[in-house]
Symmetry: D2
């Protein structure tokens, strides 16, 4: 059951990777490193860990990097690593949003696979340019919409795809948090600062940070594409430049003969009592599903007209798509880091296949630059709709 | 603790009431009768229980009514009872929506207090006429938005009113059900039939039946009034004439200097896995609350920056407004019928006061014709917005 | 669906009943009155409501009793009512435990049906005498182990009886409370005072008050009889004369060829965080069940090797034994008072049958004097075992 | 927040470790390897992975071990590694129970730190010998009672230790599973086979496998030592040689002037509906706590007389002892592997200190050989008590 046996990462040599961003004081960089390490698939060998040279140096030392491979900038890093025979095969980009595009560009052009945090960029135009670059490069581009890799999310997706819910009618998704209920950026919270600065975060606040996660998860599980939305964005805390709450109505494109599905999306950073309350509910003509990120080992399933069932990761009723991303038995909870590590596991499978000029098994699934473009389109549509007094806006 | 001691209904003589509708095969009539009976406040002495004479007779016999006081129509009943020295003091109207107005009119004009099911009428215009009639009559008009009388709903309202949540920013309310997931009216379900017939139900399907409950609850607890809404109404089941799902964005009127609150309302009859999933969540600058109708003895409260608390009916932390409508100790659950009976208890207090030409204590709270008008305005705004492609619509 | 239609209480005339105990300041008397009133099956016409004459009078007045039928003692009441042509058909005894036996004796001998609170008596010997009296009298004796009448408890019982769990192996039952965590009797709490006084309560404290409920529920649902137990009784609060916590191991008698079932019973009045935490879990060779009193509309069922199911009162999967005691649709919670009223509803069915010299339908189920004897045997075995350092003790 | 920054494992060189057991088909070996890898503290360099030579070789290759350092036996491994300048500093022993003692002996005598799975040995006598060996060796001995390293378990322990619950009165612990409800060893389940074989598992079945976990957790959090117990052990499945269910009454030693605490322990492998249902509840004179392994990021706390609070890992109200073992923000769940990795993190801190001849910070806490002896004493007392018909038995 242990992943190291299944994947054999060590037998075939771990994947050499580098990191851009993620120096001291960052949050998500550490998460990426644990995720990369969990299954022994990756080894960190290079970094441009901070735009602050001192912090970059200290961070690299702490992580045991060869000082030669601690770079002052990603541009320099991409160039230097591309030349080394033992150079990195992949890079993880974990900077504020405004650096995603230029950094990804540099590494793709250097022939290095990219694993990148979301949202993909700061504008839709940038995102589209990046798509072209990815396609031209022939390299892999993995966007860390990590929630898509929880086992029970995969199970939900499989159930929808195989018709367990019938025609999908409703997709209700929400991602409430409470950490920005008060003006924490005033208190020097680094996470809050860049996320609420339009120059670094782009046009969306909560929309870009968590709205894109909710939207991506809804698309991933439902298999539906959005036609249009009507959005009400607010910044409730005085002085805040970007939205801290979004209430959105969704209309999906019709699929087959069924009437188009509808939905609602709520994301908030000012909802006291919610830590990371991502929740997805999908209803169809034959049944309903409910999944909650804080308790990710459970999936509620109601076949219409039958009792509700509590499906568990690894338990009776767990499907193949869930089981292949599971490390331990039912009843022993897996969490956020395991889900995040599943993205890295999928990335590793794809990189290993690419080493041999092959495509990975079709079971291997991860969010790509196309999902990133969809996310940017979502942000721009939300901002546009909200500025037009919540008018329905096509994606 | 037992209510019969607190209220002393029997000492002072129970209130004589009659019923319009609620014959055999009806659902809500039985609920009203249990609610009226629970605290010994009311005694049922007359009825026009069905428009079908045979059913009316059989129902009256079953309920032990004096055959003389089983009437063929509410018009006849209002007239006859008004003349009797032992005539009814109040009437409960539990018919399909289209009879609410004419029946209420008849009894008000006969000088009899009215307890009426929701929604108030089939059009806003009718509802406004009824308001005028109520005001002219000087009689009590009690609308059975029963969810407002759950003890922990009263507690939530008190907490909002006394500032426990700070300025209210968000009101998220939902009322999903699943009983109309398939076309049950085709199978002769009486409840489903009239509720999905525009002639009997009015312009709103789910909107009128449960959307109004959700909307009323949101107003009741938040103390806010709605400015405008944008609604997407659907009838997912082929052939259904009225909506079975509504997704609505809400904008409330500003209160004081705080920015106006926003919200979302979802009501559905096609959401498999939900029986009667009414849920209200309110968030302010200082805290959040969550209440769920299926588990009504609990109220989640998070003061921002502190641990979540699970307040319980009758438990530590229960407030006066909750305790005055509580019959039994904490940990012994009260349910829907107790909440419904609380409406009758409040009505009894008001009727007893009226007997003596007084106003009831200001603790006595119940939904009135004005709430009914608000509900009809909500339905009409939803229908109007939906027809205009979800445009923002003033109430 | 409303009970008044099913049972037709009013058509055939409500049952005249009286009450012993339950005057001002009592708790359980009010509960009995609401339960008797809920379905319109009973009407209260007489009482010996308190041993304190002034309180008896005031209480009777409050309840609207004819002053002539407010008695100074149950002895007087039994005699006088037996003579009246319109005398009571049944009496509810809701006194402290030490009055149960003499009061029941008086009414049985007067030919009046008895509805009695638990535990049955203060000693096993007394309980056995009462059994003989009941048998001799030919009258009904209903013991208000009210938890047995929750619909989902009936469903659990039906599932066990029909083999859904296979051979029963384990019965785990608990009833934790916290109200006696500190010495509240010192503060003049009337409920606490008599319950912790051996003269009024008998030999068991928590054992008699809530241990008997837990034990009765375990027997009722499992259909098993206890062979022996090992008990550790404690009074954790200094100065308390009766136990406030009991930890008990259970061994049931073998049934068929299966090995005898085992179990544990925990009841406590000193467990902070528990209001009325009665919980029953039963496990067999084919599945498991879990039910919790505070959330009584749910029943968890796991058929071994399949996903867990959440059965709901009135929902898909609800069985006949549950549905016949249900008043309202799924998702609208029923609570403690409805469960308690179900005991009165069953009693009414039996009394109505007795009026006509018949037995009630075999669906009609209620705890009897025999269950009371079992309860007393349980108390005595617990006390005996605990005194013998927890030695295994036969019942 | 990422552990690699806090602990700096790579800066100072990861710890070289080997593994005994954990070859293909094993479960717990893979868990240990992920736990060792998660924070980058350890690197696996040697192994005696299976007693089957072919499986040992294949497993070593899969894990990328130098073939030279894949050994046929732990004896050989201990000798060879002790001689190498780059030899292992620690060994993880993850074999069936009967090999724990001889393997641990071999490595301790070779001067190598030992991390060992539980239970410690197959008899109490063996366990005591091992204690002497550990003391003599001066090496570290870490027993992987992994549940003690969940952050909220640490928090519970801190709260008890600092008096938040007052005097402890009750400790209720349970660990139900359902995987042995039927006779799975008959079907060739490797996990089931050795665990139900007295030669490999020792005298306890469920008692040794999960009873010891429950017992250890109760001791760890309560800070209490057990005085005596009364146990009822059963093997419900025909033909099973070791117990699959234990019901146990507990009496703890008095602490200070408070009366001795009591408790109950239930562990089962035949309780359908439970995957790994470890749950601990502790009640004192001032409050109560509840923690459930399947949802480990929550800790319920009720200060007596106040509302229940839901404490969350990383959330408001989280204490230092919990926060130091936390990797990610509140609301992003951590799970079993993170808890297990915390044991390795604590072990790493102790090993790093030992490298420098120092003791680790007193915040560093892990189960030791002494806890292992306590566990074996628990098993033997359970078996002894059960054989004597559940007589009270001293530890």
């Amino acid at each position: 059951m242990a992943s190291d046996k299944v994947q054999g990462p060590i037998r075939y040599g771990p994947i050499r990777y580098g990191m851009v961003g993620g120096g001291q004081g960052a949050f998500i960089g550490g998460v990426h490193r644990i995720a990369a390490r969990m299954d022994g698939e990756f080894v960190l060998v290079a970094g441009a860990l901070s735009s602050n040279p001192e912090r970059a140096k200290a961070s690299a030392e702490e992580l045991g990097l060869d000082p030669e491979r601690s770079y002052a900038s990603y541009a320099e890093m991409a160039k230097a690593e591309a030349k080394r025979p033992d150079g990195i095969e992949a890079v993880s980009i974990v900077t504020p949003n405004n650096h995603h595009f230029p950094a990804a560009k540099a590494f793709l052009e250097a022939g290095i696979h990219v694993i990148c945090d979301k949202p993909l960029a700061t504008t839709l135009a940038e995102a589209k340019k990046l798509t072209a670059l990815v396609e031209k490069s022939g390299k892999l581009f993995v966007l860390t919409h990590n929630y898509t890799a929880y086992p029970m999310v995969r199970q939900a997706r499989e159930m929808v795809a195989t018709g367990a819910l019938g025609d999908i009618r409703l997709v209700q998704v929400e991602y409430p948090q409470d950490w920005l209920t008060e003006d924490v950026s005033a208190e020097g919270n680094k996470q809050a600062s860049w996320r609420s600065d339009p120059k670094q975060a782009g046009a969306g606040g909560a929309t870009g940070d968590i709205g894109t996660h909710a939207y991506n998860l809804a698309r991933f599980v439902s298999g539906l594409e959005l036609d249009s939305l009507a959005a009400d964005l607010d910044a409730f805390v005085p002085g805040r430049l970007l939205d801290d709450n979004l209430n959105v109505l969704l209309r999906f494109r019709a699929k087959g003969n069924a009437p188009p599905a509808k939905g609602m999306l709520w994301a908030s950073q000012v909802a006291p009592g919610h830590e990371n309350g991502l929740k997805l509910r999908i209803y169809g003509s034959k049944g309903g599903l409910e999944w909650v990120q804080a308790d990710p080992n459970y999936l509620w399933h109601t076949p219409f007209g039958e009792p509700k069932r509590l499906l568990t990761r690894g338990g009776a009723g767990a499907l193949a798509s869930a089981n292949r991303l599971t490390r331990i038995p039912a009843g022993h909870p897996e969490g956020y880091l395991e889900g995040f590590a599943n993205i890295y596991r999928e990335a590793a499978a794809a990189i290993r296949a690419a080493r041999n000029g092959r495509k990975p098994s079709k079971d291997v699934v991860f969010p790509t630059v196309h999902d990133g473009v969809e996310g940017m389109a979502f942000i721009e549509a939300c901002v546009k709709s909200s500025k037009k007094n919540g008018a329905w806006t096509k994606l």
